[in-house]
Each structure stands twice: as structure tokens, then as C-alpha cells.
């Protein structure tokens, strides 16, 4: 195990024992091998930078780097965006710790020394973020390495194995070159990813969101605060923004579009598919802070004469978020809301039972223009999970779900 703080400034010698320079940085080539140090950047006394490939390194220790080459066989350094430089791109930068689901700043990097096939290789093991790493950085160069190891050993060490490290790179073409993918990140719960996003700067947020697939991006964006949502969506191209917004539940989509500037939201709406856009436009038409503005147009409704089979068919055809379905609403001949059949009852019923019999006696609903306080009170009084929203003629327009009401209550505090 050797640390970057111990490797930096190490003297580098050629095969004859002549001093070449001091070790300035280490480069990894993710297209070849994501963990192996591919080249060593050495600063010469004449202020030039040499580039030594890993096959030319004979041995590495805390005292020196011994190469198996001579000066004339060593090339000069040419900056390459496809290479990951440890000091420039990793040290003191923020990374995402996918395991602990947070954003941390790298203080030191751990390496393993591995002899291999006549030369010696360095492989990245972990990012080091604890107090021990801080002590090493502070004392680096001022005190002997052996004493630094002893001192830093007294303090807690916190490392993140490299496989859980997600680098953050705002430049999308560089992301491709460095093979940065956020697959692991995408596997986390959207709320956790949203927490991580909140710790990043806007460019970095954009980088992460652009790399996620539309559905995951939509779920994640739904979980971040509204102002941030709007800022984020305004910063990505409107076609991609439209793709993401389409994946969001219509009420969330309406909220975000409302928050964006009129020009930006018009662009996004224009780029959306017409059905989705229509739903969202309807919701945008309602005044803010009313039941209409809170509701979503994603709900399941069947005729009141339908049976269990009809309900299951409707569930199968539903393309919204199944987890949020608790009730199937029933409408009468004139499209008026007549009943609400809880899913649990449907599950227990005989297949030939008309849904009308499974409905609760009185359907509690709210007018679209009612204010949001009324909505909250209704939820509270009748212990509701969803509340249907109707117009003056009792036609079902949408439903308000408990999570939206919870958000209202939490924000009011």
C-alpha cells in the first residue's frame, strides 16, 4: 500500500542511476485498464515534463522510482483528455461515493504496488477521505514519511474502494473518453440520487442527469427541490428535457414547467409528445394552490357496471406509476363519478362481482377550484390516500395523492 502523498515528488532515476526528475503526477488510461497507472509524469530540473510508460518502471518504493530506461527513450508529455490524471483530476475534487450515497472530496489516493512480468505496476485501490489523509497532506514534505505514517495511523482512516467511486466530469465528450458511467448510481433509489445531486454544482448535476436514462432521470428530478428542477431542466437541451418530462407524472411535470421560464417551458412542451403535452397543459391551466394544480391526470377509471375482470384489464393497460394506484374509480353513464373501489377489496372479491358493490358508500371528492387547505383538511378528516378531483358537473378530472399533500404540510412548517 502506498499513498499518493508519498508518491508525489519522489525522485525518479533512469537505468544508469541518473536523476531524471521528481514524480509530478500519475495517469490512468481507462480505455486500456481502469485501475492501472499507465504513465508517470516526471518534472525535470529544467522544468520540462517527461512521460514514462508503466512498462518502463522497474521498481517503486517510498524512497524512489527506478526506471529501466534511459533519458533518450523517454517521451515528452502531451496533454491527453482521454487520460485520467490523479493530481489534476482526482485529488481535492468531489466524487460520488455510490456505496454511502453521498458526495465527498478526495484528500488522498491509495495504491497497490504489484510486480508484473519484469516491471512494477501501480494500481489504484481507493480514494481516501478521512482525517488520516488530511494529516498526511498537511505534513507532506515537512516531516519524514515514516513519521507521517506513524502519526496518521493514530487517526481514523476513511476509504472508498475505487469501484464505488464515480468521478464527476461536466464535459460530456471527456466523460466518454474516460469511460465514466453512472450505471451504479442509476441503481440507487431516486431519492438518494437526488440527495447526491443537491450536493453538486449545477454543471455537475447536468453531467449526471445527462448520463442517466430518461426514466431514471425523471424519477431523480422529481425528488429534488422545485427551483433546482427548473434550473437543471433549463440547462439541458430541450429535446432531452422533453424526454425526461414525459417520463414524469403529469402533476410533477406541470409543477416543474410552471417553475421554468415561459420560453423554456414552451420549448419543452413543444418537444413533448402531443398526448403527454396535452395532459400537462390541462394541469397548467389550473390556478396555483388549488386542487386542480395539485392533481395528476394519471388515474384508473372504469364504468360502474364493470366487473373484476374489467378492473384487472384496466390495471394492465395503465401506463402510469402502478405503485401509486390504491383505488379504481367508477363512472356512471353520463361520465359522472359514482364510486371508488379500493384495490384491497378488489383483490378479495369473486371474479363476477360488479365493482359497484365493492365501492365505498359515499365517494369523497373535491372541486377543482377548491384551495389547497381544503384538500389537506379532507385528507386529514377522512384518512384518505387519494382524493378525486371533479368539475362542477362531477366529472372526474384527476386525483390528488397523499405524497403531494405531505409535501404541502412539510413545506408549510
Amino acid at each position: 500500500m502506498i499513498y499518493f502523498t508519498e508518491l508525489e515528488h519522489l525522485p525518479v532515476f533512469d537505468v544508469k542511476g541518473e536523476y531524471l526528475g521528481s514524480l509530478a503526477d500519475l495517469c490512468v488510461d481507462p480505455s486500456q485498464n481502469a485501475l492501472r497507472v499507465a504513465s508517470y509524469l516526471v518534472k525535470t530540473p529544467q522544468k520540462g515534463i517527461l512521460c514514462i510508460t508503466y512498462t518502463q518502471v522497474q521498481s517503486i518504493s517510498v524512497r524512489a522510482v527506478q526506471t529501466s530506461t534511459t533519458l533518450d527513450q523517454v517521451s515528452c508529455y502531451a496533454p491527453d483528455e482521454g487520460l485520467l490524471q490523479v493530481k489534476k483530476d482526482v485529488l481535492d475534487q468531489q466524487i460520488i461515493d455510490v456505496n454511502h450515497r453521498k458526495v465527498v472530496r478526495v484528500t488522498d489516493v491509495d495504491f497497490d504496488i504489484q510486480p508484473n512480468d519484469g516491471h512494477t505496476e501501480l494500481r489504484i485501490v481507493a480514494a481516501n477521505v478521512g482525517v488520516a489523509a488530511g494529516i498526511r497532506r498537511l505534513l507532506q514534505g515537512a516531516v519524514s514519511k515514516h513519521r507521517i505514517r506513524a502519526l496518521s495511523g493514530l487517526f481514523p482512516s476513511k476509504t472508498i474502494p475505487w469501484e464505488f467511486v464515480n468521478l464527476i466530469e461536466p464535459d460530456s465528450s471527456r466523460r466518454v473518453k474516460l469511460r465514466i458511467s453512472y450505471d451504479r448510481l442509476a441503481e440507487l433509489h431516486p431519492a438518494d440520487v437526488a440527495d447526491i445531486l443537491e450536493d453538486l454544482s449545477r454543471d455537475e448535476q447536468k453531467a449526471v442527469v445527462e448520463s442517466l436514462d430518461d426514466e431514471t432521470a425523471a424519477e431523480v428530478i422529481s425528488e429534488i427541490p422545485t427551483e433546482m428542477q427548473a434550473a437543471l431542466l433549463e440547462s439541458i437541451p430541450s429535446e432531452k428535457a422533453a424526454d425526461i418530462v414525459e417520463e414524469m407524472p403529469p402533476d410533477e411535470a406541470a409543477d416543474v414547467l410552471q417553475e421554468m421560464t415561459p420560453e423554456a417551458s414552451a420549448e419543452v412542451l413543444a418537444d413533448m409528445e402531443s398526448d403527454e403535452a396535452k395532459d400537462v397543459r390541462t394541469l397548467l391551466g389550473f390556478e396555483e394552490k388549488t386542487a386542480g394544480a395539485l392533481m395528476t391526470t394519471e388515474f384508473i377509471v372504469v364504468g360502474e357496471e364493470a366487473t373484476l375482470e374489467g378492473a384487472i384489464e384496466a390495471l394492465r393497460n395503465f401506463d402510469g406509476n402502478l405503485e401509486s394506484v390504491h383505488v379504481i374509480y367508477l363512472i356512471g353513464a353520463d361520465q359522472v363519478l359514482t364510486g371508488a373501489a379500493p384495490l384491497a377489496r378488489i383483490l378479495l372479491a369473486e371474479s363476477s362481482t360488479p365493482l359497484r358493490d365493492l365501492s365505498t358508500d359515499e365517494v369523497i371528492s373535491v372541486q377543482a377550484h377548491a384551495d389547497q387547505k381544503t384538500v389537506v383538511d379532507l385528507f386529514h378528516k377522512y384518512n384518505l390516500v387519494t382524493l378525486p378531483v371533479v368539475d362542477e358537473r362531477s366529472h372526474l378530472l384527476g386525483i390528488v395523492t397523499a405524497d403531494d399533500v405531505l409535501e404541502l404540510v412539510v413545506n408549510r412548517r
Binding site: D92, T107, S201
Partner: protein, 420 residues
Amino acid sequence: MIKRLSHFRTQLLVFLAVVGPGIITANVDNDAGGIFTYSNAGATFGYSLLWTLIPVTVALIVVQEMVARMGAVTGKGLADLIREEYGFRMTFLVMVLLLIADLGNTISEFAGLASGMSVVGVSRYIVVPLGAALVWVLVVRGTYQSVEKIFLVACLFYIAYPLSCFLAHPHWADAIKGTVVPYVRFDSNYLYVLIGLVGTTIAPWMQFYLQSAVVEKGVKLKDYRLSRWDVIVGCIMTDVVAFFIIAACAATIHVTGHGQIKDAGEAALALRPLAGRAASYLFAFGLCNASLFSACILPLATAYYVCEGLGVESGINKRLHEAPSFYALYTTLIVLGALAVIFLSPEKQIPIALFSQVINGMLLPIVLIFMLRLVNREDLMGDYRNNRTFNIIAWVCCVTMIVLTLVWFVSTFFPGHLPA
């Protein structure tokens, strides 16, 4: 129709949302250290330090605009930027220096609280522990937000100063002359007060606070223009208040030959023309409000940016075990600040408060140098780099403070080497 109305409302809301960091920073700027520094300046040197206000206001606007711009463009805090561009060791050293300065500032807030309440006869042994506990609970329990409005409203107290100033019938000719004619003496006392004046107005911790507040608000680049106005208005407000505190003290205390301010009772005399016998109560009220307000913000802001720079978990919304160092740092600042004031004798309170502002002034160039190097980086700021005027003003400010500090040092420890 709804779209158009909501557009206007959005714009208004954006303005109101973006207005905030600057105005709040301005009012926190006038904390106990500020009130004492300005009062002392007016009492000891009359109108002759008023000329500093215009250059200092200009410098303040430039500096704060720079940090607001950096926050809006990079979306990162100042400590974050310093860490990313200058590495751990440099960041650590700067954080240590600023921590010391901010501990001094915290001490001066509690000193203000103690002084203010001593005017109405309450002992510091009661007031300071209570005040510290109150501040800690308000902030940690998260109820600070609801109280912030009360603090801001109580800041209307500062109107007392211009009123009192006019009622004191100052010698306006002298005041105007003092405002436009620069007058520099090379003696230690004068320079000390001068450095403190700059340090209390352009406090280093405020720059970190403002940049973080701008980032927190998520100020978008296009709304940044509005936040510029917020900053400018805030700066002007701060310095108008400063002007009247100095002028009022000059017109009342200096004129009667009292000289250096030794306790809050003397500083309160500046409000006599307005409030008569109630001047001390009025002053105590304003001073305590300013002290508590800043005590709620300053140590918290310090804990935030130090943790940010060192890469340690921070956040008042996190639980204790999630962000232990943050809470430890914050609590230590409050406890040490309070303890220092409890054990310091009353005569030392104001000198320590003044000294803490002088430290601000001496550390300002260090922070300015970092800021200037960061704000001029093309890869960080793109087209929003500093223009030449801003660079000149900021560098002049930086160099001036370094020169003033050096000259003060020489005149204090090697007196007689400089012309009078």
C-alpha cells in the same frame, strides 16, 4: 392570461427570492463589532475618518459583487473553490487563520450582548450564558428562520442614528469636509482604528457567507443581474448606517471631549439628542439585537465554510452523528466565545471587540488574493471574468490593506520611525 400573470409573478418572486443574501449580509455586517468600531471612530477622531466610507463602500461593492458572481457562475462556495484549485494544505492554513478571526468576531458579539445588558444593569454572568444557549437552540433546532424576520425588523433601530445625528446639530461643514477630504495620520492609534473600520465593513467571513448564500439560492446566471442590485443596495445600506453612527458619535461624544469609548454607556451617548435619558435603553436594545442576530449567523457560517473547505460533512439539517465535526465546531465557537466574555473583565470587552475587527482587516488581503486569482480564471468563470476596473479596485484595496497593516506594525513596535 394566467400564463402572463404567473410570468409577472414569477419575475417578482425571482426578484424577492434573489434579493435577500445581500440585504441580510448588510444588516449582519452591522454587528456589535461594527457598532463599537464606528462609534469609537467617531468618538475618538470626530469627522476625520468619514472619508474612508466612500472608498470602502466602493471596495465593498466590488468585492461582494465578485463573490456573488463567482457563486452564480461556478455554483460552488468560496472554500470549495480554494480547495479545488489550491489543494488541501493551503485551504487548511487559510481556514485556521479565518477560524481565529471568527472566534474573535464571535467573542465580540457576546461582548456586545454583555455590554448592552450591563447598561440596563443585568450582569454578564447571567446574560452571556443565556444568550449563548438561546442562540444555540435557535439555530440547532431550526427555528432560526422564523426568528430571522424579527431580527431584520429590529434592525430598523439603525434609523435612530441619522435622527440623532440631525438632532445633535453637527457642524455640517466639518462633516462634509471629513467625508470628502482624505486625512491620514501615521500614528498607531489612527491606523488601528482605520484598519478596524475596513475590517468590520469588508469582513472576510462575509464573503464566504455571501457566496454560499448565492449558491444556496440557486441563483441562475440570468437572474444574477438582479442579485447584483441586491448586493449593491445592501452595501450602500451598510455604509449609510456606518456614516451616521460615526457622525452621531462625532457630533455628541467627540465634541464633548470624551474620546475613546470605554463602555456601552458612553457609546449610547450618541443617541442622547434623539432619546434623551432613554438613550442608553435604546442603544442597549439595538446593540443586543445586532449581537444576537450576528451570533446566530456568524459562527454557523464559519462552521459551514470551514467544513466545506476541509471536505467534512456539514449541514444544520443533518443529525449530530451524521455531521459530528460540524456540530462540534459550531458548538465550540459559541462556547469559547461565551466563556471568553464571561471571564473577561468589562473594561476589556470593547478593546477585544475592536481588536477582532482589526484582525478582519489584516486577514482581508489574504482572502482577496485568493478571490482575485479565482475570479480571473477563464476556465472557471468563462466570460464572467473580472473586467479591468474591478481588478484595479480590488487590487488597490488589497495592497492598501497590506501597506496599512505594515505601517501600523512599524508605528506600534518601532515608534518614531515614521513621519507624523
